[in-house]
Symmetry: C2
Subunit: 348 residues, 2 copies
C-alpha cells in the first residue's frame, strides 16, 4: 500500500489537516510540529497524491505547452525556454509545477484533443506555440476551447502565434511579415530580380505571413512575381531540397531562393550544390528563424533571427503570472535580419 497523508499524520501524532498545512505552507504551524511532520514524511517516504490534491483544491500544477513538432529545434528552443520559466522542478520547493510539452505534429485534431486533455487535467496554464492552422471551423473550435479554458481559470498564452481576438488569450506574436519583407528587401537590394520562394504548408499563418512579407517587398520594388516562382512544401529539409529542384526546373534563371525557414533553406542549399550551382555566386539562399545550425552551414545562412528563447521565456513568465501581460494582451516580437554568406550579388 502507498503511504497516505493519514499515515504521516498518525506517525507525527497530528491531524491530517496539520500535515496538509505543513506541506503546503499556507497556514501557520508551530515550528516544533512542522519538524515532527517533516520527519514523519521523510521516514515514511511519503509522496503527495497529485490527483487527490488537485481534486480537493480544485487546482493543478500542470502547465501545458503545445508544439507543432518537437523534433524541430524551432519548437524545442521555445519549449525549453518556456519550461525554464515555468519553474518546473528547480524553482523553490513547494511551488513545483509540471511543465508538459505536447506534440501536436501539426494536426488540428491532436491540437484540439490535447487542449481537451489539458482542460480535463484542469491545467494551471497553457502555452500554444507556433503558427496556427487557418481553417475556419478548426479555428472556431480552437477559439472556443481557449475561451472555455480561460473561463475555467487556466491562463492561456500564445507564443509565436497570431492573436485570437475575443478569447482572452495573451499573444506574443512574431513579426513574420515584417521579417519576410526585410529579408527579400535585402536580396532585392543586392540586385536580385528573379527570386524563387519555398513556402511552408498552406493554411498556416506563419506560411502566409512570411510569404506576404516577401510579396510586399517585391511589390514595393515593382517586381512582378511569376507564379512559377512559388512552391509550397513542409517545414523540413527534404521539402526544401525537392522544392528547389522544382523551382530551378521551372525557371533556371532564378538568382535567389528564399525559404520558409532555415531547415528548408539547408535543403535548398543541398539541392543547388547537387545541381552544380555555387552559393551565393550562382544562386543566393535565405532562410528564416536563425536556428543554431544555420551559422554552421557553408556558406553560413542569411536569415531572420527570431528571439525564440526570449519570447518563450516571456511567454512562460506571463503564463505563470510572474510578468504583466503586454498592453492589450498582445505584443509583436520583431525578427532581426542576419546577413551572412549565403546571399550575394546575382550572377551577371
Amino acid at each position: 500500500m502507498t503511504v497516505t497523508l493519514a499515515d504521516v499524520a498518525a506517525r507525527a501524532q497530528v491531524s491530517p489537516a496539520t500535515v496538509s498545512r505543513v506541506l503546503n505552507g499556507n497556514y501557520p504551524v508551530a515550528a516544533s510540529t512542522r519538524e515532527r511532520v517533516l520527519k514523519a514524511v521523510d521516514e515514511l517516504d511519503y509522496v503527495l497524491n497529485g490527483p487527490a490534491s488537485a481534486l480537493a483544491a480544485a487546482t493543478s500544477d500542470l502547465v501545458g505547452i503545445l508544439v507543432n513538432d518537437i523534433a524541430d529545434p524551432f519548437f524545442g528552443i521555445m519549449a525549453s525556454a518556456i519550461q525554464g520559466e515555468i519553474g518546473g522542478p528547480g524553482g523553490r520547493a513547494g511551488g513545483e509545477r509540471l511543465a508538459v510539452v505536447c506534440n501536436t505534429g501539426g494536426s488540428p485534431e491532436r491540437e484540439l484533443t490535447y487542449l481537451t486533455l489539458l482542460q480535463r487535467q484542469r491545467a494551471a496554464a497553457v502555452v500554444l506555440t507556433g503558427g496556427a492552422i487557418e481553417d475556419a471551423p478548426h479555428k472556431a473550435a480552437m477559439d472556443m476551447k481557449v475561451r472555455k479554458l480561460i473561463e475555467a481559470g487556466t491562463r492561456v498564452v500564445l507564443c509565436g502565434r497570431p492573436q485570437a481576438p475575443d478569447t482572452g488569450a495573451i499573444a506574443l506574436t512574431f513579426d513574420n511579415r515584417g521579417g519576410g519583407q526585410e529579408l527579400t528587401e535585402h536580396l532585392i537590394g543586392l540586385g536580385h530580380r528573379r527570386l524563387g520562394y519555398i513556402a511552408g504548408p498552406e493554411e498556416r499563418t506563419t506560411t502566409r505571413h512570411r510569404l506576404e512579407g516577401h510579396r510586399d517587398a517585391l511589390a514595393a520594388h515593382g517586381i512582378e512575381e511569376d507564379p512559377r516562382w512559388t512552391v509550397h512544401g513542409r517545414y523540413d529539409r527534404r521539402s526544401g531540397y525537392e522544392a528547389t529542384l522544382e523551382l530551378m526546373r521551372r525557371d533556371p534563371s532564378l538568382t535567389a531562393v528564399v525559404a520558409a525557414n532555415d531547415s528548408v533553406a539547408l535543403g535548398a542549399c543541398a539541392a543547388l550544390r547537387d545541381s552544380g550551382l555555387r552559393i551565393p555566386e550562382d544562386v543566393s539562399v535565405a532562410g528564416f528563424d536563425d536556428l543554431p545550425f544555420s551559422m554552421d552551414a557553408v556558406p553560413s545562412l542569411t536569415t531572420v533571427r527570431l528571439p525564440l528563447a526570449e519570447a518563450g521565456a516571456r511567454a512562460g513568465r506571463i503564463a505563470m503570472g510572474r510578468e504583466e501581460a503586454p498592453p492589450g494582451g498582445i505584443a509583436s516580437v520583431r525578427g532581426e535580419l542576419m546577413v551572412r554568406g549565403s546571399s550575394g550579388v546575382p550572377r551577371a
Copy 2:
C-alpha cells in the same frame, strides 16, 4: 460553475454511475441509454474531471518522458517517436493518454524532482531518455525512485540509457561503445594515427561509453593515446568549436577530430575552417548520432547513425504495454557507421 458528471446524469435521466460507465465503456450499457448520455454530454459540453477520475480509479492517463535537453533534436526525435506511440490524442478515442515531456536540462536534481512529480501524478508510465549521470549517490537515488515508481504500478522504460539493474526497469540501450569503436576504426583504417577526441560532459554514461569505444579502437591498433588529445565539453556546437581550437593548439599535427556528437562535430568543422584548415584534406572530422542536419553539412558528416525514432517508438510501445519487453528486460540497439565526406585519408 463547471459541468459535473451529476449534471450530465440529471440531464440524461440516469445515475452518475451509468454516465461514468458510458464514458469509460467498461461495462455494458443499453444502446438507447448510451445515446441519451452521449447526447447530454455533448449538449452540456461536459469535460471529465481528470484529477477526480484519477483519484477514484487510482490510475492516471499521464505518461512522462524525461529528456536532457529538449532543444536538442537528439532528444526531440526520440520524444516525438515515443509520444507517437503513446497514442497521445490521435489514438482511438477514449484511451487517450497525455504524453508529457519533461526537460531536465541535464540536472540531477531536476531529474529526480520530475520523477517525484510524475510519481505524485501516479503516471501510468515513464520513459527516461539519454545518458545517465554517473554520480553514485544520484544514481542510487534514481534507482530507488524508479523502484518506487514500478512498485506503484508505473511502467518504466529506459531509452538510450544503460540498464539499471535490480530496478525492474526495461532498458533499450544504445551501443555507444561499439559505435565509437567502429567510427575510430574507420578513421584508423584511412590511415589516421593522431586523433583528437572531443568528449561530452564528464560523469555521463554516454560520454564514457563513446570515449571507451574510441580508446578500444586505438588500443586494438596499438596506437598510444596522448592525453592532450582528449578534451571534455558540452554536447553543443559552441563547445565543439572551442574544444577544437584547444585541440589544435595543443597538437597541430592531429589529422582527425572525433566528436562526441554531431552538434559538436559541426562546431569542430567551423573551428577548423576558421583556422584555415580544409576538411577532410587537412583534418578529418567525425560525429555521432546522425541527426538530420549532419548530411547537410559541407562536407557531409561521417558519423554513426543511431535509430532514434525506431528506438523511441519501441520504447513507447513497451511503455504502453503494447509490445513485449525484450528478454531479460534489456536490449542493445546498434548504431550504423555512415561514411561521408568529412573523413578522408590523412594529409601526408
